[in-house]
């Protein structure tokens, strides 16, 4: 939105967070709260707008072939604490000596992003990076990847002055790097972000003040509203762990922004001093079917999975369980994404693609050459006992519990299958149900890591399970290729033992290698269409994010990634 008159710089913006950051030293952290604290003081390379356009912040990029990328830094970027101007030298030094260090002595969480498989050697190697000018450097990928700038490896990537890093690189001093005072107090941020660090009282509040020298205000090519950004004199994040206290603070006006769980949203919609903003999110909720040996083998049949998809009413899930704050999901992409092709997506669980007779008739024919059959309303096995399946959900998430109960009821009514919901803690679920491996002594043909320990008849998880709603998966609407591992027999994340009928992985690879935008859309559209047809999981819904803002806060949007220009928000 463009303002015709500039907003005034005023006020203290207070937002509430349920958890505190772990560290301001972004080389050592991997949690989103720390990330948000830091990003307010360091812009990073570029932002991605909701319409998937790159908005350059510190830098812009150029590429001819989608394989070699030249990164160009702006000329007015100054470090703080006397480290001078930001140059390509800082970047290249950092990438080569810290990100790509072998072994990863600094413990940088995303170092894996800077290695790719070199097709010539077949090995994982560091991506070649070279300085080509004072403010330019080149990244030379081994293979074409048009989505590269949209990936977290470069999107909003930050940097550290060489002057700081060179104190620790020669000796590979992990502790020194971790405890460096300038890194921990963001002393080096200069004019590189809309705010500068003020104080951090652990577990209480994090305060940043407006940066008068913000570099972006001097850049000509930005929209008017950035001209005098930011418009808050001060911004504070308050850590409030207890949900009722947090919401109470929003209601009483002590904070200007807080996340609202869907079941409380109606109350806030009715308050006069709070505006409720609903934004879409990239995470999808599914029923994951365990097709490994310790699951239910009929899940391995596509027709069985398709039949079961008729059993669960997705609209009820969105309307009743998510209170309307969400959308029905049919595949591994949200409906509003560029890669979602309506014409190719097969729908289940809505309208006339839902119902008890339709489920039962399809299920019966899908299981016709197995021991399973219908005895009246119930699906029974060869011994005449009703089929009973387990469904797991996270014990710390009551919404998941409700969902699991609903699914159990739907399966019972529509498919004649008895389902027992089981709560499990997230850490137990990770270690005992997600990690799969072959038993001791057995030597699997192949293995794809700790989650996909081998062929589905050999490698299984420690505990048996049939279905789960525990984990939400990121659909990566900006970089859809990232979800490839879910849909390949040997995908690193394929812990549920899915062997696709069609070669979906090939479609992904082809799409990744194409620089032609429309061809890519076609290919991904086809891939997600196939995924919706094969139903590796039962896609249920994509919950939206509900945030409450004080009514005088303006400038935010309702689209995905609404915070991309948060430095332009203001008080009315």
């Amino acid at each position: 939105m463009e303002a015709t008159t500039m907003p005034d710089v005023q006020g203290q913006y207070v937002s509430a967070s349920s958890v505190d950051a772990q560290s301001l030293n972004w080389l050592t952290i991997a949690d989103s709260t720390s990330g948000s604290y830091i990003t307010a003081t360091l812009d990073g390379t570029w932002a991605v707008k909701p319409n998937r356009e790159i908005f350059p912040l510190w830098a812009d990029y150029e590429t001819d072939d989608g394989r070699v990328y030249e990164i160009q830094l702006r000329e007015n970027l100054e470090w703080g604490a006397g480290y001078g101007q930001m140059t390509a030298e800082d970047w290249v030094y950092m990438i080569k000596n810290v990100f790509q260090a072998q072994p990863n002595w600094s413990g940088y969480p995303n170092s894996g992003d800077w290695f790719r498989v070199n097709p010539e050697s077949g090995e994982r190697e560091p991506i070649p990076v070279e300085q080509t000018g004072t403010r330019t450097f080149e990244i030379r990928l081994f293979e074409v990847d048009p989505a590269f700038p949209f990936k977290p490896v470069l999107w909003r990537q930050q940097c550290i002055p060489k002057g700081i890093l060179e104190k620790y690189v020669p000796n590979k001093d992990t502790e020194g790097l971790k405890q460096d005072e300038e890194l921990n107090t963001l002393a080096y941020t200069g004019n590189l972000g809309p705010y500068t660090y003020e104080t951090w009282e652990r577990s209480a509040r994090y305060t940043i003040t407006r940066n008068e020298d913000y570099y972006l205000t001097e850049v000509d090519a930005v929209p008017e509203r950035f001209r005098n950004a930011p418009y808050f004199s001060q911004s504070t994040t308050r850590v409030i762990k207890e949900e009722s206290t947090r919401l109470g603070a929003l209601e009483s006006g002590e904070v200007d922004a807080a996340g609202i769980p869907p079941d409380k949203a109606t109350r806030f919609e009715n308050l006069s001093n709070v505006d409720v903003n609903v934004t879409p999110q990239p995470f999808v909720r599914n029923i994951v079917y365990n097709m490994r040996a310790n699951g239910w083998t009929p899940f391995r049949s596509k027709t069985v999975r398709q039949a079961l998809a008729f059993a669960v009413d997705k609209e009820t899930i969105v309307e009743n369980i998510l209170r309307g704050y969400g959308q029905v999901a049919q595949t591994m992409q949200p409906r509003w994404s560029d890669w979602y092709d309506d014409s190719r997506v097969t729908e289940f669980g809505v309208g006339d693609r839902y119902g008890p007779e339709k489920t039962r008739s399809r299920l019966e024919s899908a299981l016709s050459d197995t021991e399973y059959a219908y005895d009246g309303d119930r699906l029974v096995n060869g011994a005449g006992e009703q089929v009973t399946l387990s469904i797991y959900y996270d014990s710390g998430q009551p919404t998941e519990g409700t969902m699991a109960e609903f699914i159990a009821r739907e399966f019972d009514e529509n498919a004649g299958i008895a389902v027992q919901p089981q709560a499990v803690s997230s850490s137990t679920f990770q270690s005992n149900y997600v990690q799969t491996s072959a038993p001791d002594g057995a030597d699997p043909e192949w293995t794809a890591g700790t989650f996909n320990g081998g062929p589905r008849d050999v490698a299984t998880s420690a505990e048996p399970w049939d279905m789960s709603v525990n984990l939400q998966f990121n659909t990566y609407p900006f970089t859809p290729a990232s979800s490839k591992g879910f849909f390949e027999q040997r995908g690193g994340i394929n812990y549920y033992g899915y062997y696709p009928d069609e070669d979906i992985g090939a479609l992904y690879e082809e799409a990744t290698a194409t620089t032609d935008e429309s061809r890519r859309r076609e290919l991904f559209g086809e891939a997600f269409g196939l995924i919706s047809e094969e139903q590796p999981f039962s896609f249920l819904a994509m919950p939206s994010s509900v945030t409450g803002y004080a009514t005088d806060v303006q400038g935010y949007d309702q689209k995905f990634n609404a915070g991309w220009d948060s430095q332009t928000w203001y008080f009315r």
Partner: protein
């Protein structure tokens, strides 16, 4: 007596060392869910789970052998260099020093009020046994004891903070310590805590005082013409103080550390309770050891002071030969 104290102190050191070692051991063998989450996230975005795991271990210093890590921690503890807190990215001493005042500001008033109120109500109950006031006091004390702290805190917050607006909903650490604003913020947390702890002190002091209320020397004092107040303070309280010391000295020493995690979470107070709890959840070994050391130290010293206090208060007790 001097030898007794020296021996006790020496034993305290040994006990502390044992506790710290056991704590370290438990942390070391507990699998860390954060590691698994990192790996899952990496695999889910098409990256390498192994790289994520390697990075995690490098960050946590877990790539060294257990014996090396153990030795380093123990030496650090002994030399008072308590190391770096991974989950707070600050030194452990900084973390504890910044959290301690926030615990002290509510634990000091709570302890003082609980002891004063608990003692006086208990003594009053003992000398006015079975009167209506006695019953009312007992009811009030057990009501406070039975009500779960966190629930009571939330209710009070909703009623007095959100609905009535008398008190701020969120604890503001910026407010100066000795001011009306701070008092206003602390009313609700202190009320919640005092109602919870007062029952114990009240009933205990009532029971102890009762024993002495019926004592013969109290009758002697009355026969001498002493008034009720003098009898209460000099003849009942003073001898009763000896058994009462078992809880009081501990309480008083814990005056800085009567940390309540539940209250800190509900009211958003960044004190020692949530510091130590979060440290355990995050498996931040150095911070866990640091906070354990403090609590252990306080209870050990507390026990010692308590025993010494006995000898001062009760002339019949003497540790000379032990």
């Amino acid at each position: 007596m001097r030898w007794y104290v020296v021996r006790r102190v020496a034993w305290a050191v040994v006990a502390t060392f044992l506790i710290l070692s056991i704590t370290w051991g438990l942390l070391a063998i507990t699998p860390n869910p954060a590691a698994e989450q990192m790996q899952f996230q990496a695999a889910a975005s098409g990256g390498s789970a192994e790289a994520a795991e390697e990075a995690f271990e490098a960050r946590r210093g877990l790539d060294r052998s257990p014996w090396d890590r153990y030795r380093e921690y123990m030496i650090n503890m002994a030399t008072l260099n308590w190391g770096w807190s991974q989950s707070r990215s600050q030194s452990v001493t900084d973390a504890i020093a910044s959290a301690l005042p926030y615990t002290a500001i509510y634990s000091i008033p709570t302890t003082i009020l609980s002891i004063l109120l608990g003692l006086s109500i208990g003594l009053y109950s003992a000398t006015h046994q079975y009167t209506k006031t006695d019953y009312a006091a007992t009811f009030f004390a057990f009501f406070g004891y039975a009500i779960p702290n966190f629930w009571f805190g939330i209710i009070l917050l909703l009623v007095f903070g959100v609905q009535l607006g008398w008190f701020p909903v969120v604890f503001d650490s910026d407010v100066p310590i000795f001011g009306l604003g701070m008092v206003q913020q602390l009313v609700l947390p202190v009320v919640v805590l005092v109602t919870g702890t007062i029952a114990g002190i009240m009933r205990y002091s009532r029971a102890e005082a009762l024993e002495y209320v019926e004592a013969e020397f109290v009758k002697t004092a009355r026969a001498k013409g002493a008034d009720g107040y003098r009898i209460l303070t000099r003849h009942i309280l003073r001898p009763a103080a000896v058994p009462l010391m078992t809880i009081l000295v501990g309480d008083i020493l814990g005056i800085f550390l009567a940390a309540s995690y539940l209250v800190e979470v509900v009211f958003g107070i960044p004190g020692l309770g949530q510091l130590s709890y979060n440290a355990i959840i995050a498996q931040d070994t150095s911070l866990v050891l640091g906070t354990t050391l403090i609590f252990t130290f306080v209870s050990v010293v507390g026990n010692l002071i308590q025993d010494v206090a006995y000898t001062i208060l009760d002339p019949r007790i003497d540790y000379g030969d032990r």
